[in-house]
């Protein structure tokens, strides 16, 4: 029998008293429901694909040409290409995770989320899952086209660790996005401007186009706080074995552990912030006020 089937109850309280199975299934449906538009949108709105690929490819190409103009060693071109592919995830996290609840509020959907009988965390998980699928296509295409166009030579010895680091980077990135979603919602209009601050400045401190170790203390701080910085550094070390790096960054295995810690911290922080936000939403009723 479906958990959603109508059943007679003695009171509304009894009707609202769901079994753990009902709650789990509803949350899983919510994850699927929120991921669905992002995955389906890939195929329905074809211009998205063009712009999702075109934008990072153009930016990546520009930095490749800078290195070419400087006659840099070939592995630096590879660093830029890998960084360009990973920006797909970062942009997705900032624009479509962190800012999403604020957009939903502006469009009048947020109060529906809070009123629906599901955990808001499942909405965030759905957004994250859909966003990962969406951005993965973009990252793979950018990586493939740029690698072929600019003749990037990868030198990989530890495939398993590289894949593990990649997935841990995604987990930490989207965990950060889930945490930021609540913060951005509270900050309102400032959040939109904050997204601008989370682009070039974060690209700089994360060493998007160069080894982050070159930045010294700033680089170390980035490695400790920004998943993009630590994930990218670990992936560069694993994908370009033998390349000359500025010394100072930890080995990939240690960076993988940093990513694990980041994932756990961000997910717990996201859960705590969402609960706080939900309480505020019920208490103050400000979250249905649009454009603020």
């Amino acid at each position: 029998m479906s958990v959603y089937e109508f059943r007679h109850t003695a009171s509304p309280q009894e009707a609202a008293d769901w079994t753990p199975r009902q709650q789990l299934l509803t949350d899983l449906r919510s994850v699927g429901g929120r991921a669905y538009p992002r995955v389906t949108g890939l195929f329905r709105e074809k211009s998205w694909v063009a712009f999702e690929i075109l934008l990072p490819f153009l930016a990546t190409s520009a930095f490749v040409f800078v290195y070419r103009a400087l006659q840099a060693p070939p592995e630096y071109i590879g660093f830029v290409v890998l960084g360009g592919a990973m920006t797909a995830f970062w942009l997705n996290v900032i624009w479509m995770m962190a800012s999403q609840l604020w957009w939903e509020k502006s469009q009048g959907n947020l109060e529906l989320y809070f009123a629906a009988p599901m955990s808001i965390m499942s909405v965030l998980f759905g957004m994250a899952f859909g966003g990962m699928v969406m951005s993965s296509t973009r990252a793979v295409v950018v990586l493939a086209i740029a690698s072929v166009a600019f003749g990037v030579q990868f030198a990989i010895e530890q495939w398993a660790l590289l894949l593990a680091v990649f997935f841990l980077t995604l987990a930490a990135l989207y965990g950060l996005g889930m945490m930021l979603a609540s913060l951005f919602l509270m900050w309102g209009r400032e959040a939109f401007h904050l997204t601008q601050l989370f682009m070039e400045p974060v690209y700089f401190v994360s060493g998007l186009n160069f080894p982050v170790g070159r930045l010294g203390l700033i680089g170390a701080l980035a490695l400790a706080t920004i998943p993009l910085a630590v994930g990218l550094d670990a992936m560069r070390q694993l994908a370009f074995v033998g390349a000359e790096f500025p010394i100072g960054t930890p080995p990939p295995a240690v960076e993988a552990l940093i990513l694990v810690v980041m994932t756990v911290v961000f997910l717990f922080a996201a859960r705590f912030m969402l609960r706080t936000l939900e309480r505020m939403a019920r208490k103050e009723g400000r979250l249905s006020v649009r454009w603020q």
Binding site: V66, R68, Q196, L197
Partner: protein, 326 residues
């Protein structure tokens, strides 16, 4: 009722606000409007509105930090790249990169400003239809809205140059600046930039969904072919030729030539399309001005035409009040 319209004396001023003329009746000049004074009033009001929309979300200090962080970081990325490869950046190339990045902050702000004004008013605030039916000229209002963002971009660009000079070691000597050339390219370049922005705003009037990313997409494409942070000579010949058709290439080259005479050229040099076809190392100031004027005029003509066609089509198809949920 005779149906005659009483026409006031030409020199009688139009009353302020909504008050009736002193002689009573209806003054047709009010409905016609569109003289220079009306344009200025519309432009000024839109500029103030744009500035407030851009800046009233926070305090001035935070607003300043947000405005300069992006262009400054973009410049620092390139400075570190330069430093890693050349081990202590070459001052001439450092100046090349810092000036290019600073000017690009203005370009990005200019292009984004107008396009996002259309999208903001249509998709988010849903005011575009009301703005359109107001007595002011629509294009003038759009320009006013765009000016605020352009000003923010210009501020970021200037701060980037200042940081480059004060902290990054960009060689700067006010005595060697070619001021007449700088003034001329600044005026012509900004005109061309506004024309490109109008062109994109016209396109955004017609489009939906991903229009928010169009300004960055266009800016990204132009960034590649305009010699902003690397000389065009590293690009394939046909792409270099394409780059020479955009006014932004000549604007940036002109500013570099005026502020850092004798520095590296983004257009000429060994292996460049320019040197191969003209036999000269780099374009001289007169050529730069002429090319900027010609390409700028072409873009302006195209932008005006496309905007008018787009405006008519938007009215015809009801696009001014159509929100797409993007």
């Amino acid at each position: 009722m005779s149906g005659d319209v009483t026409v006031p004396a030409v020199d009688e001023p139009i009353p302020a606000g909504l008050a009736s003329p002193t002689w009573g009746g209806f003054d047709p000049r009010r409905a016609r409007g569109q003289d220079l004074r009306d344009h200025w009033q519309g432009f000024r009001t839109a500029a103030v509105l744009g500035w407030q929309t851009e800046g009233n979300w926070t305090d001035p200090v935070l607003f300043f930090i947000y405005s300069v962080a992006k262009p400054l970081s973009a410049a620092l990325i390139l400075v570190v790249m330069l430093d890693i490869i050349s081990g202590g950046a070459d001052p001439a190339y450092l100046a090349f990169v810092v000036v290019g990045t600073a000017l690009w902050a203005i370009v990005l702000a200019g292009i984004t400003g107008l396009a996002w004004s259309v999208l903001d008013d249509r998709e988010r605030y849903r005011m575009l239809k009301y703005v359109y039916v107001s007595p002011s000229d629509f294009l003038v209002l759009l320009l006013g809205r765009g000016v605020a963002r352009l000003a923010v971009g210009a501020m970021g660009g200037l701060i980037t140059i200042a940081v480059g000079i004060l902290w990054l070691g960009v060689p700067f000597d006010p005595a060697v600046i070619d001021w007449p050339l700088l003034m001329a390219v600044a005026v012509l370049g900004l005109g061309a930039l506004v024309a490109i922005a109008v062109l994109l705003a016209a396109i955004c009037l017609q489009t939906r969904q991903e229009s928010w990313s169009y300004p960055e997409a266009l800016a990204g494409a132009l960034f590649l072919v305009s010699g902003v942070v690397f000389p065009l000579s590293v690009l394939p010949g046909p792409v270099q030729a394409l780059g020479l058709l955009t006014p932004l290439t000549w604007w940036i080259e002109g500013v570099r030539h005026a502020v850092f005479p004798g520095g590296p050229s983004s257009i000429g040099g060994p292996g460049s399309f320019w040197t191969a076809t003209t036999g000269t190392q780099a374009p001289d100031p007169a050529t730069i001005l002429l090319a900027l004027l010609a390409t700028g005029a072409l873009v302006t003509l195209a932008a005006t035409g496309v905007f008018r066609v787009s405006e008519r089509r938007a009215k015809d198809r009801g696009l001014l009040d159509q929100t797409t949920g993007s």
